[in-house]
Subunit: 438 residues, 2 copies
């Protein structure tokens, strides 16, 4: 049964909101060994780890075009239509994120602008396991394609007989993934970071994974590879007032809880009755659920918490910085305006996290573990880098040159000052020459 | 004398463009020890390291308001005006980067948008040493202020007598820095990452530094603190055709070279004459320069390289991914369009890197060491995180609900499907009830 807290004290509250810890020294050691292995031994290390962890020894790591084409054929039409609907919405939302170049004239003769350019080669990681996360393929590949990344490679682990879920292959091909490799875990991250005989090194790695994968991503950063964001277990916070529907709230808590045993689902409310109703509903609905054993474990870290006011709920939420925040209140727009730390916010009782996970349009790759305080969910710009441009004309040098000389000299960088002085001198000489001619 | 290469082979070219390596095991060990020290012992560790590395034992780490006010009084009016001009241009350019909220309707009854919110508490690092980098204070604090960061703290090391350069204090106060602390090196990074008795922990750390500082920033990332970007020594690449002015090119190479002994300054050209002229000019201009000993060392890693065409120069530049790229060519706009990897690009012979370093407007905190392939220079958005919002109405659930159920079921996440099903069921019941009433 999910825990209830009625007007908890500060310490009790902090304790209830403590997230399950994700990393430990043991994970670190294991991951470092795998990273070194793949860096030194390339493909042969990948094969070794695949046999060890996935139970399959792949001869070729690259998934052949014919296999991908065959997969597409095996997806039922109705499901394809649903996937296409999700694809279209994700594309619509992520297209709107593309920024137009905006030329700014900061002084006469000084034009500045920036251009967003797709990162040339990116790597997407899609976990294996029981749930074939084809929705994540869309969430990573669609913005990568819109960003104009020239090469989009994807790694995903094979099943015990060497198969990859056809839905993963179908969506990858739909969303413009260039090449798919059969590789999973920390070893796949190492391959994309350092490159092997088969897998080219990428400049940025995206995608979710277990604690080995996420730690591997954090560690390869130290070798110059960019990553989407650090990650911990998934989580939801629901702020519900008395107008919320306890059936919906319970369903939303459970949909989060089924993600994994270390997921956390928290309801904050100013209504005592809501706590009782949601607790009962949670029991009722979870009883028949397929992933009930995962849900049981995850609910142990979860809680229904009564606070004095909805404002208190919002301030606790801003401190917790949830990955997902559902505002099941009478005035969700008012409350949304007060949110300063969250990954994705769902307004009103009809907005469930699960529609956001699949089909509303915004990315579902979001900062967990409190990282919403300093990181953003994925957007098209996550797959691009910004290049600055500036043009200073002759007139521009005359306008901003003297100030630059003064600033550079004050920083004791006389070489910087000289680069302007030689230009100013040249312009003066030129002016003198034309004056003499006239 | 700066090295010249005439139509080098591939291996020779790669060798000439190899960047001075920044990290080593020794740095790593030293930095880890400092990080642990500050995490465990707080302020007392900061004082210990300050005495050891800066030669000064600070009693209070916080720089008092009175000291800052006094500093402002000591800055000459003329220099204040130059600083204000830079401040204004940086503000103009970075204001233009603020994004308006754009509501996207991805399906009927489904509205999605995102809002950029300033990171609540950020930390700026400003190095000490010979050059008082007050320009970097502006480049960090102006966008932080525009982003709406509530607290902007700054660490900078004291001199041997406990003083901090008045220009640094003046610009910090001008640009809205909340609190200034006397702390430098890896220990300042540790303090901002973990917090001490005096210094509060921040969510993201920005700013340049020596190899200890940059490694410290990379390592605290593993503990969940975001950083602006990884960093190496500064560098410039100049692409010059026969129309370039060799006096300007040489001055630009030297202004880069004076940054530090490990800076790299490269000219690529399709004109043999240009190489000879620039080499001579470099000797001439550097002879009288104040930082000549640093320049000598840095020019050892630098080169003037003849290639067949300007297109070849551009392709080498895109592979090198320079922090600064100057296009001293007859048609810089054409060539700028071909740039895909660079930090900041300067178009035309009158555009010097040094005006960009101080006053044109775009940020001068840029990706070095080839990181322009996967990282952007700083912008206002670097000080913000994006929060997604979505509202699904009753009509929206009816539109996208059934597809969500299908997708969730295909991912074997039936709890996700259930969260939609309970809503669809409720809506149907409600409709039946009103039908009966009618």
């Amino acid at each position: 049964m999910i825990r209830t807290l009625y007007r908890p004290g500060q310490a009790e509250l902090v304790d209830a909101l403590r997230r399950p810890s994700a990393t430990d020294r043991e994970t670190d050691t294991a991951v470092r060994e795998i990273l070194d292995g793949v860096r030194d031994k390339g493909d042969s290390a990948l094969r070794y780890y695949s046999e060890k962890f996935d139970g399959y020894l792949p001869l070729s790591l690259k998934v052949e075009e014919s296999v991908i084409a065959e997969a597409a054929g095996s997806v039922p039409e109705e499901l394809k239509e649903a996937i296409n609907a999700a694809y279209k919405n994700i594309q619509t939302f992520h297209s709107a994120q593309l920024q137009k170049t905006n030329v700014v004239r900061t002084a006469e003769g000084v034009k500045c602008w920036s251009r967003n350019v797709g990162i040339e080669r990116v790597g997407l990681y899609i976990p294996g396991g029981t749930a074939p996360l084809f929705s994540t393929v869309l969430m990573l590949a669609v913005p990568a394609q819109l960003a104009g990344c020239r090469e989009i490679i994807m790694c995903t682990p094979p099943g015990k007989t060497g198969e990859i879920n056809p839905l993963i292959l179908y969506t990858a091909s739909l969303a413009g993934v260039t090449t798919i490799y059969m590789a999973g875990g920390a070893q796949a991250i190492a391959a994309m970071a350092y490159g092997t005989e088969s897998i080219p090194p990428v400049y940025k790695i995206f995608g979710p994974g277990n604690r080995y994968v996420t730690r591997a991503k954090e560690l390869v950063q130290l070798d110059g590879v960019a990553i989407d964001m650090p990650a911990g277990p998934s989580e939801v916070m629901i702020i519900a007032d008395e107008t919320a529907n306890p059936v919906f709230v319970a369903a939303d808590l459970l949909s989060q809880a089924e993600h994994g045993a270390d997921s956390q689902a928290i309801m904050l409310t100013d209504s005592k009755v809501m706590i009782e109703l949601v607790q009962k509903e949670t029991e009722l609905q979870s009883a028949g659920m397929e992933r009930n054993s995962i849900i049981r474990q995850s609910l142990e870290k979860s809680a229904l918490i009564l606070l004095d006011t909805i404002d208190d709920c919002l301030s606790v939420s801003n401190r917790y910085a949830p990955e997902h925040l559902i505002l099941a209140t009478a005035d969700p727009y008012l409350h949304a305006a007060a949110v300063i730390n969250a990954g994705s916010v769902f307004l009103g009782k009809y907005s469930s996290e699960s529609t956001g996970d699949y089909i509303t349009g915004p990315n579902h790759t979001l900062p967990t573990g409190g990282y919403a305080r300093n990181y953003s969910g994925l957007s098209t710009s996550s797959f691009m880098k910004k290049i600055f441009f500036q043009e200073v004309t002759k007139q521009g040098v005359m306008n901003i040159g003297p100030a630059t000389e003064m600033l550079a000299t004050a920083e004791m960088l006389t070489g910087h000052s000289n680069a302007v002085s030689v230009r100013l001198k040249y312009i003066t000489n030129e002016q003198n020459r034309s004056a003499r001619k006239a």
